[in-house]
């Protein structure tokens, strides 16, 4: 029997309808104040951390490298976006997307500059060098008092990160990375993770693809940084230290390296913990640590491993099961 498949145009239609419904519903719910302000604020920070985790997952999960400087790119984007918005170059409606774009591009350019020398190294060497670059970015921001406000911080940033803007960025980020990974370039990136020497012997320009993945990753980290700036309204260099990079890495590892759905789920859980477990006081920290230990012990590949969720696949499965059940009934009747 021929297996049932949903045609590609149909898949696109279903997915885009669902995304539009998600955005509209989410926007209406957050605007109505139905959930209360705490949950609205939490949903926005969850979105920002989803972008950070999904973008780090590109260079950690798909490319198979271990960069520890993600907070550095986030900082570049945050400051670039904040300085752009504060300057008031464009009228407010055009300013938000333009600022996000500026933030992403600034981070991507720095990503390329750092990536070219750093990606010559592998494993722990790469981890150390990216960690170093991340710290350099923070120290530079600290010392450029006239531009960034130094340790005193950059304040008075327009706070326009709401559900709509943040989750549009989340969707764009996820779709862009998904499409990259399904393309020829994505296959090349995956082949580098599986075996770099084999990939190179097949004629894949590994340096090019590594830097490309790294720059993509930095681009979205920059956008997340700008959204962060627009969420809090205040930036201080200390917010982008090495521990922030580790926290983002932890989200990716917990969710499963190489699983976008895993990153999304882990980012949602870990970012929401302080709000949902506030009643537990300090015991919260024990539960948090235990959760990480238990996942790593019993599922070292992370919550979802390398599994990626596909709605169309799920639908196909359900429909196939339905068809099979029907044919069985028919057989029984016969």
């Amino acid at each position: 029997m021929k297996e049932f498949r949903i045609s590609m145009p149909m898949r696109y239609i279903i997915n885009s309808l669902l995304l539009v419904a998600f955005i509209v519903a989410g926007h209406l719910i957050t605007q109505s104040g139905l959930l209360g302000r705490a949950h609205n604020a939490n949903i926005v920070s969850v979105g920002i951390f989803i972008i950070l985790a999904v973008s780090l997952n590109l260079s950690t999960g798909y490319l198979g490298q271990l960069p520890l400087g993600h907070a550095g790119f986030m900082a570049i984007g945050a400051y670039a976006g904040a300085i752009f918005w504060r300057s008031g170059l464009l009228p407010s409606t055009a300013s938000v997307p333009a600022g996000l774009l500026v933030a992403g591009l600034a981070a991507a350019v720095v990503g390329v500059i750092i990536g070219i020398p750093a990606l010559r190294l592998k494993g722990d060497y790469l981890a150390i060098i990216t960690l170093g670059f991340g710290e350099i970015i923070r120290v530079i921001i600290n010392n450029l008092d006239s531009v960034t406000g130094g340790a005193g911080g950059l304040h008075g940033i327009p706070r326009h990160s709401n559900f709509l803007i943040v989750y549009l960025c989340v969707i764009i980020c996820c779709i862009a990375i998904h499409m990259l990974m399904k393309s020829r370039h994505g296959r090349a990136i995956l082949s580098i993770r599986e075996n770099e020497i084999a990939a190179e012997s097949c004629g894949i320009n590994t340096t090019y693809y590594k830097v490309m993945a790294f720059a993509f990753s930095a681009f979205f980290a920059g956008i997340a940084g700008a959204l962060f700036a627009g969420n809090i309204g205040l930036l201080v260099p200390g917010e982008f230290d090495f521990m922030t990079s580790i926290n983002i890495l932890m989200i990716v590892v917990l969710g499963g390296m190489g699983s976008m759905a895993g990153s999304v789920i882990a980012a949602s859980i870990l970012t929401s913990l302080p709000l949902f477990m506030a009643a537990l006081n300090e015991y919260r920290m024990i539960i948090y640590a235990l959760m990480l230990i238990i996942v790593m012990l019993f599922k070292p590949s992370g919550l979802l491993g390398t599994y990626d969720f596909s709605l169309s696949r799920l639908l196909e499965k359900l429909i196939r099961r339905r068809i099979a059940a029907k044919s069985k009934v028919k057989e029984g009747e016969a």
């Binding site: 120290v139 201080v236 302080p274 709000l275 919260r284």
Partner: protein, 394 residues
């Protein structure tokens, strides 16, 4: 199969009903006019937990003592913001959802500065016991005062100015050097105010050096400073800097120079227990001293020790005063108006009452200036024979 579904369904129903009962209980409590709910934001985990716990201890001591008196009851909702700006914003919004009348918090300057603009829009009365950054109560660009935000601690510029005055007038210093950290907003604030004041006084700044927050080697900077041989060296850092800068200043040959510091120095001697000789003769400023002659301060210290087993530090004392300022203002507002305690009108009236504060706290008499910063006395501590001696007020 069906029976089981029915069982599960009835169980769920029972649970929902039980929860409904609880919810209605909570509602009854909130509508009680004899109780006022306030929010407390403090970092109880993470790097700033030491400050957060000190502040919480001071606040809870006052609130417990107040509630024990009977009459108006204060119901505090405490939330941990982990010293993180994002979590602070979420937790602030949580407290707003809980319809609190006022908020005490937060503890460190950055999370506090992240929530102040939101609280200003909400007309939420707030007081912090320890956020010293000038930008907490005044918008740094526009100079707009956040009228809802108060504090019971010194601001950074105040301390720098006072120490310059002290060096010039009391120590007779004519040359000074500064060693500050450009990675700490607190340190920068003090340094700028010190230099600014020194210029107007005619105290010559002969050299300025800076260091990283977690630096361990200061000999290079100190040797450069020693070459100018200043009368005083102002070190607006934290106790972990002082514990390293002290001994290294002797190595660098800064033996005739008096070291000056601010409230970040508190706890330096504990860190230098083995050999405090290198900071012998230094002076620093603090907002609270145990060597008080006033009975109510001594009482506070003994009550605090009885409750927590440790003597109160400056943060705990300032927190005790912050709670006192807020609750006294709530009492005055209740007496003067008949608004509902969780209404906007009550909050606005409370803000007015807070700015009219004139109270005798454990850290001195407190009134607020037009920027909602406390006008209060500074205590100067002199390090003599390896112990902190109260030099006097200034």
């Amino acid at each position: 199969m069906k029976k089981r579904t029915l069982k599960v369904f009835s169980l769920v129903l029972v649970l929902v009903m039980a929860l409904g009962l609880l919810a209605s209980c909570a509602n009854d409590d909130n509508s009680d006019v004899n109780e006022i709910t306030i929010g407390i934001l403090a970092p109880l985990t993470g790097g700033a937990a030491y400050f957060g716990e000190s502040v919480r201890n001071g606040l809870m001591l006052y609130i417990d003592e107040f509630n024990a008196r009977g009459g108006l009851q204060i119901n505090p909702i405490l939330r941990d913001e982990e010293g993180n700006m994002t979590i602070a914003v979420t937790m602030y919004n949580y407290l707003v959802d809980q319809n609190v009348t006022a908020i005490i918090g937060s503890v460190t300057s950055d999370p506090t500065r992240a929530i102040v603009p939101l609280a200003f829009e909400d007309n939420m009365p707030m007081i912090t016991a320890s956020a010293t950054h000038a930008g907490v109560t005044v918008h740094p660009d526009t100079g707009q005062v956040f009228t809802n935000m108060f504090r019971s601690c010194f601001i950074d510029p105040f301390q720098g100015t006072k120490m310059a005055d002290f060096a010039f007038e009391e120590l007779g210093a004519r040359t000074a050097a500064v060693l500050y950290s450009n990675e700490i907003a607190y340190s920068i604030g003090l340094m700028e105010a010190f230099i600014h004041r020194a210029e107007t006084l005619g105290l010559e700044i002969v050299h300025i050096e800076r260091h990283a927050d977690h630096a361990v080697d200061f000999v290079g900077q100190l040797t450069n400073i020693a070459a100018h041989n200043p009368d005083v060296l102002f070190v607006p850092g934290y106790n972990y800097h002082v514990a390293l800068i002290g001994p290294q200043s002797v190595t660098a040959g800064l033996t005739d120079t008096v070291l000056l510091g601010a409230d970040g120095w508190a706890g330096s001697l504990e860190r230098m227990e083995h050999d405090p000789s290198s900071i012998e003769g230094s002076f620093f400023m603090t907002g609270f001293t145990h060597e008080s002659t006033e009975q109510h301060v001594l009482d506070f210290i003994s009550r605090f020790e009885a409750e927590y087993g440790i003597p109160p530090n400056m943060f705990a004392a300032q927190a005790y005063d912050a709670a006192m300022i807020l609750i006294a203002a709530i009492e005055r507002t209740l007496a003067a108006t008949d608004y509902e305690p969780d209404s906007e009108a009550f909050r606005l009236a409370l803000i007015d009452q807070m700015s009219a504060t004139d109270i005798q706290g454990v850290t001195g008499r407190i009134t607020f200036d037009e920027f909602n910063n406390p006008q209060k006395t500074a205590f100067i501590i002199h390090i003599v024979d390896g112990v902190e001696r109260f030099w006097g007020t200034f």
